[in-house]
């Protein structure tokens, strides 16, 4: 009865067969509850705000991807290829800022967090719906201001804005900093909203230990968003004051201390990388349990390690400053604490693999992304811990090894998590399902392309190619060409996803309330859900993802689709 996993046609035991026309589209739901543009732009419904975020986030991802492709094409030859030095420096700044501030940080928390947090805890909306809309418009305004600032001002400092270069360079840095400041506010408001919602709006019956793991991850992310973002707000203000009025906070000629800038900058930016990866871990906890029809192995440990990463993540920022003139004592202290964060990630990975044990695993596209996620998180995570080992970091700092490490986490873990979440929740958000075969092809392309792009960059880092290099010595060319080839494969994979998901949005077969037969709390409402999320508030006897005998026929869940 074995069937090869990768063959797309649906057979008995591979992907659950989603037969078209089995369900009818619900007549009133949040999508058609008000058709005017005004009802969309001034909506207070957390689900619509999530879709607004999704559209702007995807546009930012497209922009960031284009900048990445330009960089990769430029690095095909050691000398100048298509653009000259200044444009290249602007490209990697644009790629950095757009990808990090406009896509990675808001992507999973603001889109899936906004959409599913209230549904998963049985609430009608987030705690402060108006602040939720304010948060979106702050994000939109900040994004436009930042991109316009970089394109018009020609910022070429990289997304880290290290002083004294960023304050003494001729290129304009002021609008980008104001843009980042405004986006910081949007991030704070989202985080604040989520924490208060989880504390005060849980439906009766959902205690702290019956919260789905995605909520734990979003809660931990919200804590970081609220407590870390103000520091980047202050740094943006200080940098603006310094570049506009020559205040001399970070300018060594006037007595300032550039290493102080790096301390304050990384005090935000290191927790920020946990803002990016924790929600992806939340998505993976949900999808692993759903696609292997099994309760999550070690629920308490995964929830606690989410909070652990959020808490310890605040003390590990110094491993970005090992070679920047930081004292040896601080280097040692930060290295030890960075090891702790590595342990929390290891706990999560082992518990996810434990979830597969004795499960009923269906191989679908989201599951392919989970496999990719698991491998890349282990490999990316451990190279991260290797980077935190002080003596190795001396060689690797500011080389392509660091770039490969954080792309393994950001593309390998976070974007795979985002895609897994997008495919897993696509039926719930839009009421339709996508084409199974094409999604597997795209998943294969993305996993393959990703490996071909970033494994060579690890080797480039070892060979000693520094980052942000427009021209490089001859000996690095072969690896760079391999990496560019991989990048185009990756880009092609994303294009295929855009095509078949776009197609499924309008013409996809109608998905019932529970196409995957999952026991996550968000599958208790019809899809797409009504504006009030629940026609009748469900009772929550069973913990989330409980697939034991009595739990399977829980009335709250619609039966799984069968052929």
């Amino acid at each position: 009865m074995s069937s090869s996993a990768s063959s797309p046609p649906a057979t008995a035991n591979s992907a659950p067969a989603i037969s078209p026309g089995h369900y009818t589209f619900p007549e009133h739901h949040y999508l058609n509850n008000g058709k005017t543009v005004r009802s969309w732009l001034l909506t207070l419904d957390h689900k619509r705000i999530a879709l607004l975020y999704l559209s702007v986030v995807l546009v930012s991802f497209l922009l960031g991807g284009i900048f990445a492709m330009v960089i990769r094409i430029e690095l095909l030859t050691p000398g100048p290829t298509i653009i000259e030095a200044l444009t290249y420096n602007r490209m990697f700044t644009l790629h950095g800022v757009v990808m990090i501030f406009l896509f990675m940080i808001p992507a999973i928390p603001a889109v899936f967090g906004n959409f599913f947090l209230p549904i998963m805890i049985g609430a009608k909306d987030v705690a402060f719906p108006r602040w939720n809309l304010v948060s979106f418009y702050l994000y939109l305004f900040g994004a436009i201001l930042a991109v316009w600032g970089m394109v018009n001002g020609g910022t070429d400092t990289g997304w880290t804005f290290y002083t004294p270069y960023s304050t003494t360079t001729a290129q304009g840095v002021l609008p980008v900093l104001l843009g980042v400041f405004v986006i910081g506010f949007s991030s704070i408001l989202t985080g604040l909203n989520f924490i208060v919602t989880v504390h005060t709006l849980r439906a009766p019956g959902i205690t702290w230990f019956k919260l789905p793991l995605f909520i734990w991850a979003i809660y931990a992310t919200a804590i970081i968003q609220v407590l870390a973002t103000p520091v980047i707000g202050l740094v943006a203000m200080l940098l603006s004051a310094e570049s506009a009025f020559g205040f001399g906070f970070f300018d060594p000629a006037r007595g300032g201390d550039p290493v102080l800038f790096q301390h304050l900058f990384w005090f935000y930016s290191h927790p920020a990388v946990y803002i990016m990866v924790l929600p992806a871990m939340g998505v993976i906890s949900e999808t692993v349990a759903a696609y292997s029809r099994k309760n999550v192995f070690g629920y308490g440990m995964i929830a606690a390690s989410s909070l652990g990463i959020a808490f310890v993540g605040f003390f590990a920022w110094g491993h970005h400053l090992f070679t920047s003139g930081q004292s040896a004592f601080d280097a040692g202290a930060f290295a030890v604490i960075s090891m702790l964060v590595g342990v929390f990630t290891a706990i999560k990975v082992f518990n996810w693999v434990g979830t597969l044990y004795k499960g009923a695993i269906a191989f679908t596209a989201p599951f392919a992304y989970i496999c990719g996620f698991l491998f890349f998180l282990v490999f990316g995570g451990m190279t991260g811990v290797a980077l935190a080992t002080v003596s190795l970091d001396i060689h690797w700092q500011d080389t392509y090894f660091v770039i490969a490490h954080f792309h393994f986490i950001m593309v390998g873990a976070v974007i795979m998590g985002f895609l897994a979440g997008l495919h897993y929740w696509f039926p719930k958000m839009f009421g339709r399902t996508y084409h199974e075969g094409w999604s597997l092809v795209a998943a294969a392309l993305i996993v393959l392309g990703f490996n071909a792009t970033f494994i060579p960059q690890f080797l480039l880092g070892n060979a000693g190619m520094p980052r942000r290099y427009y021209e490089y010595p001859e000996r690095f060319q072969a690896l760079n060409v391999a990496s560019t080839a991989g990048a185009s494969l990756l880009a092609f994979g994303f294009i295929i996803i855009a095509i078949y998901l776009g197609f499924a949005l309008l013409y996809g077969p109608v998905a019932g309330p529970n196409p995957w037969g999952s026991r996550g709390y968000e599958w208790m409402t019809p899809s797409p859900p009504p504006t009030e999320n629940f026609d009748v508030t469900p009772s929550y006897e069973h913990p989330p993802h409980d697939y034991t005998d009595d739990a399977v026929d829980d009335p709250g869940f619609a039966p799984a689709r069968t052929t």
């Binding site: 009608k124 604040l192 407590l227 103000p230 202050l234 004051a241 300032g256």
Partner: protein
Amino acid sequence: MEATSARVMTAEGYLAPPPTPHHYEGNPGAHKHAVRFGMWLFLATEILLFAGLFCGYFVFRADFPEAFDQAARHLSLALGTTNTFLLLTSSLTVALAHHNAEHGHNRNAFWLLVVSIAMGGGFLCIKAVEYTEKFREGALPGRFFSFSEITAPGGPMFYVVYFFATGLHALHVIVGMSLLTWVAVRCWHKEFSPTHYAPVENAGLYWHLVDLVWIFLYPLLYLV
């Protein structure tokens, strides 16, 4: 908050409290807790915002001890201490206003809030006096520094920290005062009652936080 006029005046001389928002009905206590908890989270962000400035203060104090001593002596102690007194007293009056609003005495709360706003204004005036005095002396940060009396290296660094910290704090005082005015107007319309006093409480919390920051700024800049 629906327009106050839409709500009917109750017997006890204040307006009926607004209905609990739709996604909180059946649990007004949770909504009250949510609003207060949300405000405390926002206060946490303000605390961390000023943390970076205190970090800068201590780093530059470690690098330029003599310059900081000389510059601290040039600040006028009298103005600083009166400012501290003003903010502490305004914290008291805001706390009393919140107490009165909680018991529905809207007019008492209104006058107490007016006194607090006046003290905030006084604080800003004193700050303005100090700033003009420094502009005249040339004790300014960065490249505008031309203050002869500070000879130790790093003189301008003290004024970088001084102007940025007190400037950002003054901005927060202005925001705090406008919040208090907005709440005072609603007090005038007798809006608050024992079951609905959250706006006064939140404006009070914000004002107390601004006072907290000054409690740290005053000794570090003026005394030490």
